[in-house]
């Protein structure tokens, strides 16, 4: 599995061949607070780069989760839909949101590295 890359909308992506795994970052979960609802996409759905792909809701509000990369969904993580709170405990591990077969590895390469993302979060506190 490749190193994780990060988007400005606080998603992470890792790549295994042409299948990407996408989740939301720890920083995102800290901003959201207690996560109480997750909706993940079904296999077969086509998503565009920066297109809406999933939903995450905390006690405070609902937010869209965007795909940082375009492709076709191969799997949504049903485990987090059943146990939304697990996203708070392991957002960058077991609590990934969806996997997709990507079209253009260039989209992955253009995302931020871990260091770049950490710097981005520091410069854009919310």
């Amino acid at each position: 599995m490749s190193e994780k890359k990060f988007s400005k909308k606080h998603e992470w992506v890792s790549l295994d061949g042409d299948v990407a795994t996408v989740g939301i970052t720890k920083h995102a979960t800290e901003m959201l607070g207690d996560i109480v609802f997750v909706e993940v996409p079904d296999a077969g759905k086509a998503v565009e780069k920066e297109g809406q792909a999933a939903v995450v809701e905390s006690t405070k509000a609902a937010s869209d989760v965007y795909s940082p990369i375009s492709g076709e969904i191969t799997e949504g993580n049903k485990a987090i839909a059943d146990d939304p709170g697990s996203v708070n405990t392991d957002p960058e591990g077991a609590s990934w949101f969806f996997k997709l077969k990507i079209k253009d590895k260039g989209e992955y390469d253009s995302l931020m590295s871990k260091d770049e993302y950490d710097k981005f979060c520091k410069e854009n506190p919310s």
């Binding site: 609802f37 905390s58 006690t59």
Partner: protein, 364 residues
């Protein structure tokens, strides 16, 4: 208007509060623990809420004050005993709710606790009925602290002996740090607890004591999940000037005698609604799955006709499921009726549910 702060603003900051603008005030939405932990610690131990943004409105006067207030408040104020409180409302000419409130009889008159966002207008509306010999004061020198949860009584009794003797919806004067303070056994979380009216200069000391007894600070986020589980209305969401007490399913809060005799704003309309029922009514709603039906979610019947809308909706940590309230056409209001909730363009099943979602008994 400049953003206002309560006397505890810096105290909240030091406790790690995240602030949001609310009704013209900078108020904590949550602290470090987050909404769910704050909610649970209120239900299992005790939490304190700074509700000093709410108006503490004091009125003094003779019997003509009662007559004046009864024109806009449908409670039986004549028979309200000193130190007893009632949940009631200010009504407009159409019977719509200008604000919901708690009114307490004091030795010289009344104290009314008003919602922060409404207090200026409320005072204008009440003042229309006041006479020259009626004195009134919105007291901004006082803070208001709600202490809520099963351990509240044990903790507060150690500091202010005698509070344990208060029954639900009654209050009394007590001494604290050489000053008078007023404590009522009341709250808005569905838990036993107290609301403490205390001078701005002493409030930090009181909070120091509560924190040393492991009482957690609770923000507006958990205040919302707690009150919604308890089936209690939030003004501006579940109630507004276009909704009357019959529609709001709050006719119990209109005094029996006043229902018969009337003499308050909107009485003609309310009398008719009491006899014939209203077209729509406030209900509890439980989505079948985990989906959260938030405010303005459209409600449909099982055969796809639009029948209402959600006015409050969240995840209820103690119920461990999503909960909501809203208005539906009265023929769909029976408990257990299957409905559909339209969330992000998709329809999800749900049921009309009993209120409250979470029940504990108050000390009566």
């Amino acid at each position: 208007m400049e953003v206002q702060k309560t006397a505890l603003y810096n105290y909240h900051k030091n406790l790690g509060a995240k602030f949001v603008p609310f009704a013209g005030y900078e108020m904590p939405i949550q602290y470090k623990d987050g909404i769910v932990k704050e909610h649970i610690s209120t239900r299992t131990h005790a939490g304190f809420f700074d509700v000093s943004h709410m108006g503490q409105f004091f009125l003094e006067g003779d019997d003509t004050l009662i007559e004046a207030l009864e024109k806009i408040i449908p409670a039986d104020l004549k028979n309200l005993k000193i130190n007893h409180s009632k949940y009631s409302f200010l009504l407009n000419n159409e019977g719509g709710i200008i604000d919901d409130l708690i009114i307490t009889r004091t030795e010289k008159g009344f104290c009314i606790i008003l919602n922060a966002a409404c207090k200026e207008n409320d005072i204008k509306q009440i003042s229309q009925f006041l006479k020259k010999n009626h004195k009134h004061l919105l007291n901004n020198d006082l803070s208001l602290i709600a202490l809520q949860g099963p351990k509240s009584v044990e903790i507060l009794e150690k500091l202010i002996p005698g509070v344990a003797n208060l029954r639900f919806m009654t209050g009394s004067n007590f001494e604290y740090e050489g000053e008078k303070l007023y404590v009522t056994r009341s709250g808005y979380t569905g838990e036993d607890g107290f609301e403490i009216s205390i001078s701005n200069t002493k409030v930090e000391k009181l909070i120091d004591y509560l924190i040393s007894n492991e009482v957690k600070p609770i923000g507006l986020g958990a205040r919302d999940t707690l009150r919604l589980e308890a089936g209690l209305c939030l003004y501006g969401h579940d109630l507004n000037e276009k909704i009357n007490p019959v529609e709001a399913n709050l006719k119990w809060a209109i005094a029996k005698k006043r229902k018969e005799v009337g003499g308050f704003n909107g009485w003609e309309k309310i009398k008719n609604l009491l006899a014939n029922g209203s077209e729509k009514i406030r209900v509890g709603i439980k989505p079948d799955g985990k989906v959260i039906a938030r405010e303005n979610t459209k409600i449909f019947s099982s055969d796809n006709n639009e029948i209402g809308f959600v006015t409050s909706g969240t995840f209820g940590p103690s119920v461990n499921a999503p909960v909501a309230m809203g208005y539906v056409k009265s023929e769909f209001s029976e408990i257990g009726t299957s409905i559909q909730l339209e969330v992000r363009g998709k329809k999800y099943g749900g049921k009309i549910s009993e209120l409250p979602f979470y029940k504990k008994s108050y000390v009566k």
